[in-house]
């Protein structure tokens, strides 16, 4: 669902050294204090991840350890092997991947064309449309779950991916439209006009000039849609119940209920799922230089 799960990667303007960076008046002692504070913050941010690594490597007879230690005695990778080959986790991951890729593609296509209309045309209902798009961001996910569940029962699309794909595909669309519209508007319209003078139609200019220039924003929007759907828990929770249809979020939560003591399985799965997501996230946040928040909500 949209709302809290949809997180934007905000603008990071990397250019331009500013006063504090340029002044270099920090004394040695002050620099030490700053490094100490930042190191502490980094440890706090990293700590659960480190702990999970330790728990994942605990041998079977030591899963519950009331002694605090980061790297356990007799560390082993058994839990990784176990969840990969002896549980349904790979299937759950596959289910999530298929659903998520499908919905992210649909969401991106729908948002890219609408955002173009909002950025480059004046038409009746434009202002109202933008307001309504913003208002959808206020709808609590829990509020939409109630009717979606009842409708899914009535249309008999529970325990199938049909309902999942349909319901998920539009949840990120309002947010995507705002981001893309903001980005399109930073591209000088003269480029498209030049293409039109050279004989392109307006829509061809969109397709051949604006879209290729917007690749970074399109990639980011695809990633948002992808991550929002990938990390979603509550929609699958109300729509899917069959073991072989679960998404990884649901499967993992079930892991914890079923094997209350198998913390090492949970930890090993958590690590394997997190690493690609985190890598993708860090990578994309680095090359996103354009102003996403500046484009989305002009302050």
């Amino acid at each position: 669902m949209s709302g809290p799960t949809v997180t934007p990667i905000p603008a990071v303007k990397s250019s331009g050294a500013t006063a504090r960076q340029g002044r270099r008046t920090d004394s040695r002692a002050k620099r030490l204090v700053i490094h100490a504070l930042l190191t502490f913050a980094a440890i706090v941010a990293l700590f659960p991840a480190l702990r999970v690594l330790g728990v994942a490597m605990r041998p079977g007879n030591r899963i519950l350890d009331s002694q605090f230690s980061l790297i356990p005695e007799g560390a082993t990778f058994d839990a990784f092997r176990h969840v990969l080959f002896e549980t349904d986790l790979p299937l759950w991951l596959f289910n999530s991947l298929v659903i998520t890729t499908g919905t992210a593609l649909v969401g991106l296509l729908i948002a890219a064309t609408s955002a173009y209309a909002f950025a480059r045309y004046k038409f009746p209902g434009r202002g109202l449309g933008l307001t309504l798009l913003l208002m959808t961001q206020l709808i609590p996910a829990a509020m939409l779950l109630v009717p979606l569940y009842i409708l899914a029962v009535q249309f008999d699309v529970r325990d199938s991916f049909v309902g999942m794909v349909i319901a998920l595909s539009v949840t990120s669309v309002p947010f995507s439209i705002w981001i893309l519209r903001g980005y399109y508007e930073t591209v000088p319209i003269e480029l498209e006009e030049a293409a039109q003078i050279d004989g392109c139609s307006k829509l061809e200019a969109f397709w051949r000039v604006l879209l290729p220039l917007s690749t970074p924003a399109l990639a980011i929007v695809f990633l948002f849609n992808f991550l929002a759907a990938w990390n979603d828990f509550f929609l699958p929770r109300i729509l899917l119940s069959k073991e072989e249809l679960l998404t990884w979020t649901l499967g993992l939560a079930r892991f914890q209920q079923q094997f209350q003591t198998q913390w090492n399985d949970l930890a090993a799965s958590a690590i394997m799922i997190s690493i690609p997501v985190v890598a993708l996230f860090l990578y994309s946040s680095k090359w996103l230089v354009s102003g996403v928040t500046a484009g989305g909500v002009k302050g």
């Binding site: 340029g22 490094h35 941010a45 002694q67 299937l91 996910a141 009717p147 993992l252 914890q256 997190s274």
Partner: protein
Amino acid sequence: MSLEAVTTAITQVGLTLVAIAFLVVVLEGLLYLLLVRILRYRHAIPLMLVAPAAVGLAVLVVWPLLWELNVSFTKMSLRNFGDPGFLGLERGWFVGFENYGQVFSQPVLQLTGFWQLLGQTVLWTAANVTLHVLGGMALALLLHRQMRGKGIYRALIVLPWAIPQVIALLVWRTEYNYEYGAVNQLLGMIGVAPIQWLTEPVPNFVAMIITNVWLGIPFMMVIILGGLQSISSDYYEAAEVDGATSRQAFRNITLPLLRPVLTPAIILGTVWTFNNINVPFFINPNELETSDILVTAIFRQAFQYNRYGDAAAFAFVVFLLLLVFTVFYVRFTGSLKGAYE
């Protein structure tokens, strides 16, 4: 991972995508005929571009909400489940505004009523947003300088935001375990007696806030850092020439110039925190009603107690509350000025 399950997944998703594509083509074809050929409407093209999104949102957001509004006037529940029809009139489920009245007069959950939930939600939102902004601001100010390892610090501190939330929450929940969790073990090292994070009301509420602050600081930090970097150095140089202290520079330059970035971020943060269903749901495995906020109460009322009619009415009350707050706040701060040009 059986072949059968794999093919089922691919076929179902593939067919759904084909169906969506087909519907879009049909929609565009009809619009083309109607707007371009028959009406020769001059705004035909933008309307055709917007149509798929508009129809998608109408079918999957607007229609379900209207439908929910319909349900909110009925006594739909596990016992009375099915298509209520218009206002449940035919089935005799129509109850008028009774559900709306009950939101305020009867417990929403088993014991807890609307006003207590509202209080808990306000406390939850205020505590989180305040700590997010303060923490994010502190870290951004620390990072906003030339220093060694800046990129590494930034990447590490952003980690809580990058980790899939369900995973982060499952991990935090286990770390709050009384005996085996890291939180109590660390507290034990500095001589603090173990705390019942998951079973006692107050510690559980605190645990929820700790977790959500950990989750939310990176977003604010990145936003504020972006804002700091966009402030021109000329202001600070001028202030230095005029002999301003760094505290004065912060109050009179940094804060006002951060406002355009901070205000929308705070609005977003408030709405997200208010609507956050993940954290209060996962960090409260024993379903303490003292840890529920309005949106988790909607979820429990609908999906644990199966009181669909009540939950629908309750959801609209909560939505209106948020809408009024946001409209007021946006007007008051003028933070969206110019968003429409």
